[in-house]
Amino acid sequence: MVLSISGINKSYKKVKNEAVKALDNVSLEIDQGELVAVNGPSGCGKTTLLLIAGGLLYPDQGEVLLDNTNLYDISANERDKKRAEKIGFVFQQFYLVPYINILENILIPSIGSNSYSSSLEKRARSLIGQFNLSHRIHHKPGELSTGERQRVALARALINEPKILFADEPTGNLDDDNAGIVLNYISDFAKEGGAVLLVTHDGRIGKHAHRTYKMKDGSFLSNTLNV
């Protein structure tokens, strides 16, 4: 099992100390080669689930096992290291670094994981070719289309050959053609043995997923097996 989430509760304190429940006893398991989608409306707790699963947000209750290591039982530094080595993130907003070119953007996680090498650079160039970005290798993010930017963000997420990819509305800013391209790349990653947790409010994505969870008000309503 690559990722095992069990019994996760998370509440946010809002004004007048009134707690808002974001996740309510959520459990989930993802194995190698699996693409799991969590589908639901905005504010249902999808992003919170993804941040907790990615080791970025402490849950109030429950545990997150990544490769059999509980992410919240280890130090912050070790968690950062795990994230750099084993997790890839893709967000709706891309969050590319605007002042470096796409090759450098793709290689930037190697600073966090201290893993820069010529073979890693080869892999970056290979991903650039694979994602049809060769003609943009020295361009900066501002010079790319939105679809190209998301492909760069995806290549960056995959550079360290993560065990699992977390994708938060990865097609939210893309047209149908580009959304299809990006989803195909994500599917390919899963087919090659990677695990994917994809959260979205777009119901059309379900067809790419092995399993789809419907989420509302912090809980899973249903679980659909697509295979």
Binding site: L56, Q93, Y95, P98, I100, I108, I111, S118
Partner: protein, 443 residues
């Protein structure tokens, strides 16, 4: 597919800092500029003060020199005034009775004419303006009147005091002029009573003289004197090779030297005695000391004034530097805070993809340090340059190293990075401690 022929990127924190600085160069430039102003203010004010001090010292030396010259001139004026009061030393034969001198008005014992040369050629420092005199009271038959006949040959050059002498060994400003050959000088009483004027011919005991000049009234026996060349007086009086007194001016550089002259003359002329007109000597010494004291007082007052001015300048410079440092720190703080706000999402994603807190800290502190290093270099150079320019000091004259000292430059080079790191530390820590979950959930 693998790309080829591309330059490998250098992926490290330093690369991120450099690229961000290039991307946001105006922020970097304004940050550097504020630090340059602070550093240049620090280095410049020190160089300015030092340059000002050296320039003032230079002006002061110049002024002191001018003042010293003026004072020397004043002293010389006093000296001339005092000299014009007449001789203050009289050397007589040791056997001469003072009561007899007083009652006769002239000495009745004699010295050899060569005696005056013995003093003149010695290394004696206390006597100047030596004047050998042969003087006696005689009855001037031709005019039916008693006069003092004085034979003088002019002042004998004292070789140990060459600055008083011309190339011809004549005194530049003698107390009493030589009487030219064949001529005679008259006291006013004689001239008036006998109705004599310069150019008239007189006959003294068979010797003819042309009246050379008539001295103004002095109220002494000089008014009843006739001065002729010494050899003529010796001939008229029948005292060949003799004189009966040597007049001199005691050179008084300080009161404590008074009295020394007697010992010195006794060593050269054991058969002579010396009379000092002490009130004149004391007045002369007092005048000289007063001129010297006045000189010292003016110089001291000027030095005190300069010191007060310098202290005031130092206070102002310290205040200015403090204001600049504070202003620069606030500006750097604001710049970095603004930069962090702009890069919030970048920090969030970097943290999400595995950047450690210390790596984020390095990015911001590295930027501050770089800003400080660049500003330190520019600030030191511009501060030193402006300081030299505004102080008016000439490095070619004062020496560059005296104006711009190495410790000041080292301090200046350290000041800007320390300032930038101090001002940037808190915002950088805030950036490193930002919760990526908060940032990323904002989408």
């Amino acid at each position: 597919m693998t790309l080829k022929n591309d330059q490998s990127p250098k992926i490290n924190i330093w690369m991120i800092i450099k690229r961000e600085l290039k991307h946001k160069k105006y922020g970097f430039i304004t940050g550097v500029l504020s630090l340059v102003i602070a550093t240049a203010g620090f280095v410049g004010s020190i160089v300015l003060l030092k340059g000002d001090e050296l320039a003032t010292e230079q002006l002061f030396i110049e002024k002191e020199r001018e003042l010293r010259e003026e004072m020397l001139q004043l002293e010389d004026d006093y000296r001339v005034i005092m000299r014009n009061m007449g001789y203050n030393v009289l050397i007589l034969n040791k056997e001469q009775s003072l009561s007899e001198l007083e009652s006769n008005g002239y000495a009745s014992t004699y010295l050899n004419y060569e005696d005056v040369w013995k003093i003149a050629e010695s290394d004696m420092k206390t006597l100047n303006h030596l004047m050998p005199v042969l003087q006696e009271k005689i009855y001037w038959e031709e005019m039916n009147i008693e006069i003092f006949l004085s034979g003088i040959r002019g002042q004998v050059p004292v070789y140990s005091k060459p600055r008083h002498l011309t190339d011809d060994d004549e005194y530049r400003s003698p107390i009493m002029e030589r009487v030219p050959e064949g001529k005679a000088d008259l006291g006013e009483e004689i001239a008036v009573s006998l109705n004599l004027r310069p150019g008239d011919i007189i006959n003294v005991k068979g010797e003819k003289f042309e009246v050379n000049r008539v001295y103004a009234r002095r109220g002494t026996r000089d008014d009843m004197s006739v001065w002729v060349p010494l050899d003529k007086a010796q001939s008229i009086l029948g005292r060949p090779g003799l004189i009966n007194g040597i007049l001199a001016l005691e050179c008084v550089c300080a009161t404590e030297m008074l009295g020394q002259v007697k010992e010195e003359v006794a060593a050269i002329l054991p058969h002579a005695q010396v009379f000092e007109f002490s009130s004149l000597i004391a007045a002369r010494a007092d005048v000289r000391q007063r001129a010297s004291k006045l000189h010292e007082e003016i110089i001291s007052a000027e030095r005190l004034h300069q010191m007060e001015l310098r202290e005031e300048k130092e206070r102002l410079a310290s205040l200015l530097v403090l204001v600049l440092i504070f202003g620069s720190s606030v500006w750097i703080f604001v710049l970095i805070m603004n930069n962090i706000r702009e890069r919030k999402h970048e920090i969030g994603i970097l943290r999400a993809i595995g950047f450690r807190r210390h790596q984020v800290l390095q990015i911001f502190l590295g930027k501050s340090a770089l800003m400080g290093i660049v500003a330190g270099i520019i600030g030191c150079i511009s501060g030193a340059w402006l300081g030299i320019l505004w102080s008016g000091a000439d490095p070619a004259y004062t020496g560059f190293e005296n104006l711009v000292s190495l410790p000041v430059i080292i301090l200046g080079l350290f000041l800007a990075p320390v300032l930038a790191l101090t001002a940037g530390f808190l915002p950088s820590v805030m950036a490193a401690n930002q919760d990526p979950a908060n940032i990323l959930s904002e989408q």
